[in-house]
Symmetry: C2
Subunit: 224 residues, 2 copies
DNA sequence: CGGCTAATGTAAAAGCCATTAACATGAGCT
DNA sequence: AGCTCATGTTAATGGCTTTTACATTAGCCG
C-alpha cells in the first residue's frame, strides 16, 4: 500500500498539502466545491476559490477537470449516487409494505434535500445539461429507478382494471417531491412561512394522491 | 406626449441609442436581461453584455440598478406580475366551474413556464432571496394568491366534514406544478424523454389528486 | 432665452475569475 | 540511477463587476 502518498488529503481536512504535489487534489476539490456551493449557491461557487481552499494554485484544478462546469457536473454525479443510496435504503425493497416504505422514501427525499442542499442544487438547479456525460445521465436514471420501482410495487397491488401506468405514478411522485423540496425544503432564504413542515406537506400530498389512485389503505380521511 | 424622448428605446429593438442619453435604458436593460437569460440561463447572463446589447457603456446600468442581482430581481418581479395576470386570466374566477377553470390554470402555468423560461427561471431558479425586496415578495404572494383562491373555491364545494385546508391544497398543486415545470417543462437540455407532455402529466396528476380529495367529478377512471 | 442642477452616460482603474501556455517537480517504473 | 508522465506553478490574456471622477444634457426657473 502506498501510504506515503494516499494518506494525504484524504482525511486531512483543510490542513493543506505538504509537498509540491497535493496527493488527492481531485477529492479535495470536490469537497471544496460542495462546501462552497452549500454556502453561496451553485452560482456563487468559483473554481479559483475551490483551488484556494485546497491550497493549490488557480491553474491546478485544470489537471483534474476540463473546466468549472465539469467540476460541477462531477458534484452532481456524486450527488445522484448518494441520492440513489439514500433512497434505496429508505425504500428497502418495499418492506414491510409498499405504503410504509413509500412514506420513508418521501421523508428520505426531503431529508436529502435539506441536509445536502449543495448536492441537491448541483443535481437539479445548477443548469447542468444531463447530456454533459453519459455517466451523469445514468446516475440520474438509477436514482429515478428507485422511485420507479416503488411506483411499480404500488401499482402491482391494485386490481389490474384500475391500474395506472407505473411510470406516470413515479413521475407524479417525483414531481411533487421535487416541487416541495425546491419551493419549501431548504432552511433559509426563499422560504415562505408554512403551516406545516415540508416533510408533512409532501407526506400529505402523496397520501391524497394515492387515495386518488384508489389505494384504499392510503389515508381514509383528508389530512389537515 | 413627449415623443422626442420616450419613443426611443421603447420600440427600437437593438437599433441603439442616438444621443448621449439612451432615453429608456432601464427598460432596455430589462429586456436585454430577459433575452440573455432565455439564451444562456440566469447564470450565463452578464451585466456587461446587457449593457452592450443596449448600446451603452458597462457602467451605465449602475445608474438604474444597484448591481447585477438587483436587475435579476427586477426581472423576477416583472415575471411574477405577468404570471399573476396569466394565471388570473386562466382561472377567470372559476367560470364556468372550478374544475374546468383549474384545468385551464394548470395549462396556463405550464405554458408560462414553457414560453417564458427566462421569467420562470429568474423567478424560481436564480437563487434570488425573496427577502430582496418587499415588492418582490408581495408580487410572489399575489401570484400564489390566484392558486390559493382556486383551492378555496374547490374546497368550498366539498362537504364541510371532509373538507381539507385550502392552503394545503394550494401548496400541493403549486408544488406539483412547479415540479413538473422544473423537471420536464422546458424544451431542450435537461429533458428526459417522457411518454406524455408536461401539460398532460400535470393535468393527470391534478386529477388524481383531486379525486383523492374526494372531488367525485374529477376523472372517475385512472388516466393512462 | 440663459443658466443651474440633477439625472444619466462615459472613461479609466482595481480586483476577481476562467482559461491557457510554458515551465518545474517528483512519483513510480525500469 | 534515470526516464517519463502526472501533477503543480507562474505568468499572461481577456472578460466581468464595481467604483470614482468626469462629461453631457434634459428639465426647470427666472
Amino acid at each position: 500500500m502506498s501510504w506515503s502518498k494516499h494518506e494525504r488529503g484524504g482525511a486531512e481536512g483543510a490542513g493543506g498539502p505538504r509537498g509540491y504535489h497535493h496527493g488527492n487534489l481531485k477529492e479535495a476539490l470536490l469537497r471544496a466545491a460542495l462546501e462552497l456551493i452549500a454556502q453561496k449557491g451553485p452560482a456563487g461557487f468559483t473554481f479559483a476559490e475551490a483551488a484556494r481552499w485546497a491550497g493549490v494554485s488557480p491553474a491546478a484544478p485544470y489537471r483534474h477537470f476540463r473546466d468549472r462546469d465539469e467540476l460541477l457536473a462531477n458534484v452532481a454525479l456524486r450527488g445522484f449516487e448518494r441520492f440513489e443510496v439514500v433512497l434505496k435504503r429508505a425504500w428497502d425493497d418495499g418492506r414491510p409494505d409498499a405504503l410504509a416504505a413509500l412514506d420513508r422514501l418521501g421523508k428520505a427525499y426531503m431529508e436529502f434535500a435539506r441536509t445536502e442542499p449543495a448536492y441537491y442544487s448541483a443535481m437539479f438547479e445548477a443548469g447542468i445539461p444531463l447530456s454533459t456525460s453519459a455517466e451523469l445521465r445514468e446516475a440520474g436514471e438509477r436514482a429515478f429507478a428507485v422511485l420507479r420501482g416503488a411506483a411499480e410495487k404500488l401499482c402491482a397491488q391494485m386490481p389490474a382494471a384500475k391500474r395506472p401506468p407505473a411510470l406516470m405514478v413515479a413521475l407524479h411522485i417525483w414531481s411533487l417531491s421535487h416541487g416541495v423540496a425546491s419551493l419549501f425544503g431548504r432552511g433559509d432564504a426563499a422560504r415562505r412561512t408554512l403551516p406545516m413542515s415540508a416533510e408533512e406537506l409532501l407526506e400529505a400530498g402523496v397520501l391524497v394522491y394515492l387515495r386518488g389512485l384508489g389505494l384504499s389503505a392510503a389515508g381514509d380521511r383528508p389530512p389537515g
